[in-house]
Every structure is written in structure tokens, then in C-alpha cells.
Amino acid sequence: ACDSDVREEQEAEEEAAQEIPEPTDVPDGCEPDGEPLEIGLVTINLQALFFNQINTGAERIAEETGAELQIVSGDDDSVTQANAIEDLVASDVDAIIVDAVDTEGIKPAVREADDAGIPVVAVDATVDDPAVSTQVGVENAKAGAQMGDFLVEQSAGEGTAHIVSALNSTIQLQREDGFTEAVEDGGMEVGSVVDGQNVQEEAENEAENLLTANPDAEYIYATGEPALIGLAAAVRSQDLTDQVTVVGWDLSEPAVDGLRDGWIAGVVQQNTFELGYQSMSAAVRHACGEEAPEDVPVPIEMVTPDNIEDYLYFLEKE
Amino acid sequence: MTDESPLVELRGIRKSFGAVTSLAGVDLTLGRGEVLGLVGDNGAGKSTLMKVLAGALQHDRGEILVNGRGVRFATPADARREGIGIVYQDLALCDTLDVASNLFLGREPHKGPFLDHATMHAEASRILRDLHVRVPSTRQEIGRLSGGQRQTVAIARAVSTQPDVLILDEPTAALAVAEVEQVLRLIGDVAARGVGVILITHRLQDLFRVCHRITVMYEGRSVDDAPIAELDIKSLVDMITRANTPDSAKEALSDR
């Protein structure tokens, strides 16, 4: 058979999977009316590893506190998310967690929930509204800037950085802006910006074209998971791994390969599981009438070729 | 523009579809109250010519005169405005609309901005009854009628617009005997009121019952024109098939 040699190699390589870090500080939970708590989680979509890992984290806390967790996909659409929150309010859940597609457009729905006495926790995407009881997340602009500084170090402040972005994601635009400011402050220029639309194949085609238009491109930045996967595939297909240095967001199998090979210099990894743990814990606490902090910053990790082996658990789902 | 000018005059009408020339120069005249028979072989160009006269097709060259006045029909609506009514050979019905809607298409009775359905159906069934047309219901979709029923609706439509020029492109092809009689009687009636009628048909005997004059087409050209009194069935058939035309004459014709 075609693959038999590889299969043998694979078996030889089989290594022990790393464990996902355990949650710390799990709330006790409660049963207000003798019924288990019902918590709704409205996520952006079910297709990026990123969101599924948040779900996994939240489910873990649900198990430990005896709460019931209902996940609804927003299908990348702000109206769908608003509908979902409305429906969760109608079925009278005890708390709602939301990762907003549109951080502005979610506000009326969040306020509606708040008016109905249902506490809301925002995760990943920051929703700046008093109706939100707890924010759990990453500062995207800041982290983008951090990545920009990192690249300036690598390039010694020389050269041009190109960007594979996603114009339909507010957070990723913030990452782009933060990054742009930092590299320009550091003396680099920003070259082509292409729109991968947060879809892998689109990102690959656009990255390929970017590389064709800029045959001597040295530095490229990808603002999210699909963008980085697409960019990695494009760099490989154009045989440019020796020439370019890539930085970006979110670990995935192709990103790990690139880090191991060294042409991906750094990846911002958000602590997805922690985002899930923290948001669910806050939701349970609010539902039980306990105190919970208003702001839970989850620090990012900077994954580089040197420390990659410590972060492989981010390729796991659970 | 005197009353002497004929009702309709076509001069040197030409029309091509891509490389196919359907009309290669047609002349035709129609007087008030006259019934003109337009005959010719299959594919001679009769229907194409009538579509031009009804504004459904635009000709490439030639002139159309109505009441002696040169006109150019950009749309069928233009031709309608000049008083031209037509029963197309393909009937031009909308299969998913009902009988009454087809009958009144383009001139529906209305009350203010709204369709007057009641009047529409009542009128439709009156018109159809007057024409002795039998359909299951004026609410029946026209696509579900029999061939003859469809054709009678199309005729009823053209007649009820009260045109000055009535073109009938093989109106009786699908009709049963009694219905054919009815249509022939109708043609006589409207012509008596001064309407000019152009009748295309392959039923030559019908021509002799209602027509005053015959125009013959052959391969996209008008080749003959004669009062009906001078013709009999045999001579007419010969004119259509050009059986008696000597080859030399044909040649002349083709070179024209």
C-alpha cells in the first residue's frame, strides 16, 4: 500500500500526549430551586479549534459544579447570536456566556438578558457595557503590539511586514492595528494586506497571491487561526520556507510544523482552556449569587521554536 | 394622409436572424373593411412578417405605413396603440395564469389601483359565451386547457380589444368544425364594421369564404397578389407552391 512506510514511522513516533492544565479555583456550584443550574454559552462558530477549546474548558467546569451547559453556535452572524440570547432568556437559563461576533451589536441582547435578571459573562471578545457582569479575555490590540515588537526584535527594525488579515472579524482588525503601530514605531514598513476572510482556503489563495506579488517578502503576520493555516500552506506550496519569517496567532498542526522547522518565529497562543474555565466559573458564581471579579485577564503565551514542545496540548480538543 | 391611403401598407420589409434571412423584401397592402388572405408555404415568412407588423419583432429594412403615415414599432405596445390586434400562431398565452387573466392581459379591469376580479371573470365568461367557447372555468389555468380551448381564448382576446387591424395567424388550426364556422362568421362581422383583417391559414377553402384578396409569400418574398374572384383553389395552390412558375421566372425572383 502507498503509505506503509510512513505508517511504520508514525508508530515509532507515537509520543505521550500532554495533559491539558487543570482548572484552579473551581466554584462550588449550587442548586437554586433544587434543579441543576442551566447556563447558556453562545459561541461564534464551531469550526475553529479555538472556540471548541473554550467549550471544552466550560464543559469541564460544568461537570465539576453539576451545572448544565447549553452551547449555541452563532454561525458567525450577529443577528443569530442576538436571537440565541433571546431564546436562552425565554427558556430562563441562570446565566449566559457570550463570545460576540460583533462587540457592539450584541449589546442590546445582553441588556435584555440583564433586564431579565440573567447575568452575562463575555469571553474572548470584549463587550464594553455595564450589563456585562464579567469580562474574560485577552487584550487583542496589546497582544498584537507585543507580536509587532517581537518581530521588530527579529528583524532589527528593518524590512517590510505583510499581513494576512480577516476584515470580517473585529478582534482580528484590532490585532492588525496593534501590530501595525508597533512595527512602524520599530522602524519597519507595512506592505501588502490581504483578506483571508477567516476561511482557510481563502487565506491560502490570498497568501499565495501575496507571495507572488512580493517575491522577496521576508516577514508576514497572520491575525488568526484560519489566516495562519492558510499562510503556512501557501509558504510551503511556494517553497519559500527558507526565505520568509512568519508570525501569527493561534496554534494548529501546520503552525506547530512551521515552528519546529523554524520559519515560523512566533505564535501568540491564547489560553483557550483557561478562557473556558474562567468564563464558566464566573457564570456559575453569578448564578449562585456569589461574588465574581468584573475583569479576568487571561494572559497570552508567546510560543517560539524554543518552547513549542510545552504547548502541544493546544492541539488537543479535550 | 387622405382617406384614400390604405389602412396598412408594408414596403420592402426585410428581416434576418443571424445568417438566416426570413424576410427578403415583402410588400403588402390592407384596406379598411378588407379581409386579406396571406398564404405561403411552411417557412415562407408569414408569421415573421406579422410579428413585425404587430411590433413583436423589429425589421431590418423597409417601411410600415398605417393610414398612410410611416410608423416604427419599437414594442408591441406601440402597435397596439395604432389599433393593431393579433392572434399569434403560438398564441402568446401565460400558462400559469387563468383564463380570465390571459383574456385581459395588459388591460385588466380595475377599481382604483385594484384588479376587479369579479368583473374580470364575469366579462370573461360573457365574451367566451358570445364566442361560443366552452372552457371548464374562467379560473382554470390556461396551461391545462385543450389545444382548441387555448386557441379560442387567444382569439377572444384579440377580438375583444376592438382593433382597427386584426391579424389572425392560423387562428383555426386547432379548432373543431363549429368553432371554425364561428371564427369565419366573426371575421365577416368585424370586417363589416370596417376593420381590416389579415388571415393566415392553410385551409384554402376558408379563404374563399371570407377573403376579398390574397397575398402569396414565397421564401421570404411577397410574390403574388390577386382579388379572390380571380382565383380558384387549384390556381391558389399553384401560386403557393410556385408549381407553374417557370425556372427562369424563379431565377429572376431569386436574383431580385
Binding site: 448544565e68 449555541v72 436571537n83 449589546k107 442590546p108 | 405596445a77 365568461s125 367566451l128
Partner: protein, 357 residues
């Protein structure tokens, strides 16, 4: 001919003028007539919808509460509003893929105008007009330049959202909560949102326009046989263009309502919305190729798709199962509807036969 209408009365024994034609409009047996004349598919769709609502009501007590039905009405309102206009477009044998982009455009630009200080009332008018203007572009290219509407609206779908993106640079523009437009998104009348009431009005107007005006006749006729309608002296180009102007204006209105509800306008709203709307229209029984359209059907189509999404969330269904169940329920609904039609045909046939004896 033994037909249901008037057969006994005018064609039966003793009728002297049987030869002279039936009196086609004379009333026949009531039930058979209604079953035959009324839009059977629509009647059946109503039945299927009732079934679906009952099933969801049994499955989850939250579903049939007034509060939830009011939510559902708000949720389907934009689909109904654009769907009614889309019914005209599809019935006339056209299609409009650009509605989602127009919604995004109007939502984003209206929010910008509010930020710039324009009054809500003016913004509402301008929002609808700018939607209609995009519709005019579509209609002119499709009807007068004869570019297939699918291609035209596919292209403008990209252009319109592009312009919105360019203006907002991808960021969503917040609308101040206290402005009249934002207030509209939060006001209830008799327990239903303003959106829901507007959708109702649009549906009623649409049904009247389609069934009780010349314009509606021409739309249906054009979808059935455009050339026949043209030959009847109707300006078919203008008729078709107007239908696309309607979808544009309807999308503009929907964009305003969505912006009001979300309290912000984003160039990224309503992605793939065109598919949802076309689905509602086709599910409701309008023929995708034109010639047959039903506004009631469209409203029902929107309700069915909306109720499935809403009901499954209330049921607490796993999000991984939701798309599977949604698809299956959709197929089941339309299958029931088609089989039901066979049954109704049989019934009206038997009634007709009995009446004719």
C-alpha cells in the same frame, strides 16, 4: 366535459344551451371548489406549520408561550420583509443575491449618518432610499442591459458590501441608545416588536400587490412567459426592474431594523442572508423558475425555518446536532406538504365526482 364548476347546473340533463358553452363562473359545490381554486400548496403549508408548532409546543413548554412567540416574530421579521419582495423577484423569473449586502450597507451607513448627527427620521428615509437605489442599479443592469440577474446581483453583492467595508473599515458603528432609531428596536406594541408589526404590514401589502393589482399579474405572467406579456403591450422591463427595486428597498428597511435591534451597524451583518430568504420563499411554494408565487407561502416558509432554529435552542439541543435536525425537519416538512397535496387532490377529485353525479 364533467367539471366541478357548474357542471350539474348548466351542463347536466335538461340544459338546453349546453352546446352554447358553460357559464364558467357559476358556483359549484363549495368545498370541492375551494379545494380546487384555492392555492392548495399554501393551504397545506399552513397545515404543516401548525403541525410543526404543535410538535415543538409539546416538546418544550417554553415554545408556545406568548413571550417566545413574540421573540420568534421579531426574529423572522427581516426574513419576511425581504422575503415578500423576493417573492416578486423570483415569481418574475429573476433572483436577487445582493440583499444581504444591502442590509449590511444600510445598517452600517445609517449608523454612520446617526453618528454624523442626522436625525433618525431622515436616516430612515435615506436608508430605505439607498437600498432602493442599489435595487435600481440591479434592475437597470438586469432588465435594461439584459445581464442575467444572477450575475448582476452576484457582482453587486460584492460591490455593495465592499463599499460598506471601505467606509467602516470593518468596524461596527455603535448607535446611541437614546436616538429614536435605537428606541424603535426596543419598543413593543401590544407585546410585539415594531419589526414584527412592520413585517406584518409588508406582508399584507405584498399579498395585495401580488394578487390584486395589475402589477402582480404582470409579475406572474412574466415568470410564466415573458414574451407573451410583452406582446400584450406591457412594459416588462420596467416591471422586472421595479421588482429588484423592491428587494433593494426591503433590504434597506431590514437593514435599519437590524441596526436598531443590534444598536449598531456593521458591514459584516447578514452574510448568507440571501440564502435564508430565498429558502423561505421557495419553501413556501414559490417556483424558483418563476410563474407561481405566494406571499402567504413565503411568510410560512420564514416561520418554519425560524421556528426550527428557535425551537431547537429552547429544546437545548446540542449545537452539533442542530444543523442535522434542521435539515431533516426541512425535508420532512416539504415532503409532508407534497404528499399532502396528493391527498388533497384525491379528496377534491372524489368530491368533484360525487358532485357531478
Amino acid at each position: 366535459m364533467t367539471a366541478d364548476t357548474g357542471s350539474t347546473a348548466t351542463e347536466g340533463p335538461g340544459s338546453a344551451d349546453a352546446r352554447d358553452g358553460t357559464s364558467p363562473t357559476e358556483p359549484g359545490p363549495r368545498l370541492a371548489r375551494i379545494l380546487n381554486d384555492a392555492n392548495k400548496p399554501t393551504l397545506l403549508m399552513v397545515g404543516v406549520t401548525v403541525l410543526l408548532f404543535a410538535a415543538l409546543g409539546v416538546a418544550t413548554p417554553d415554545f408556545l408561550t406568548f413571550a417566545n412567540l413574540s421573540n420568534l416574530a421579531t426574529q423572522v421579521a427581516p426574513i419576511v420583509i425581504v422575503g415578500v419582495a423576493m417573492t416578486f423577484v423570483i415569481t418574475s423569473g429573476q433572483i436577487d443575491l445582493s440583499v444581504g449586502s444591502t442590509i449590511a450597507f444600510v445598517a452600517a451607513v445609517s449608523a454612520e449618518m446617526l453618528v454624523a448627527g442626522l436625525d433618525s427620521s431622515l436616516v430612515i428615509v435615506l436608508g430605505i432610499l439607498s437600498g432602493a437605489a442599489w435595487g435600481l442599479v440591479n434592475g437597470w443592469l438586469a432588465a435594461y442591459q439584459r445581464i442575467p440577474p444572477f450575475v448582476v446581483t452576484l457582482a453587486t453583492m460584492s460591490v455593495i458590501r465592499g463599499v460598506a467595508l471601505l467606509r467602516t473599515e470593518g468596524f461596527s458603528v455603535p448607535i446611541d441608545n437614546r436616538l429614536m432609531l435605537a428606541q424603535l428596536g426596543q419598543t413593543d406594541l401590544l407585546g410585539f416588536s415594531v419589526s414584527a408589526w412592520i413585517a406584518l404590514v409588508v406582508a399584507v401589502l405584498g399579498a395585495i400587490l401580488l394578487n390584486h393589482t395589475r402589477y402582480g399579474q404582470y409579475i406572474t405572467g412574466i415568470g410564466s412567459n415573458e414574451e407573451s406579456v410583452r406582446r400584450a403591450g406591457v412594459n416588462t422591463r420596467r416591471t422586472k426592474m421595479l421588482a429588484l427595486v423592491f428587494t433593494g428597498a426591503a433590504a434597506g428597511l431590514a437593514g435599519l431594523l437590524i441596526a436598531a435591534r443590534l444598536g449598531s451597524g456593521s458591514a459584516n451583518s447578514a452574510e448568507a442572508f440571501e440564502l435564508t430568504v430565498i429558502a423561505a420563499v421557495v419553501l413556501g411554494g414559490t417556483n424558483l423558475f418563476g410563474g407561481r408565487g405566494t406571499i402567504v407561502g413565503t411568510v410560512i416558509g420564514a416561520l418554519i425555518t425560524g421556528a426550527i432554529a428557535n425551537g431547537l435552542t429552547l429544546l437545548g439541543m446540542s449545537p452539533f446536532l442542530t444543523p442535522i435536525v434542521t435539515g431533516c425537519v426541512l425535508i420532512l416538512a416539504i415532503w409532508l406538504n407534497l404528499r399532502g397535496r396528493d391527498i388533497a387532490d384525491l379528496a377534491s377529485q372524489m368530491l368533484g365526482r360525487r358532485a357531478a353525479q
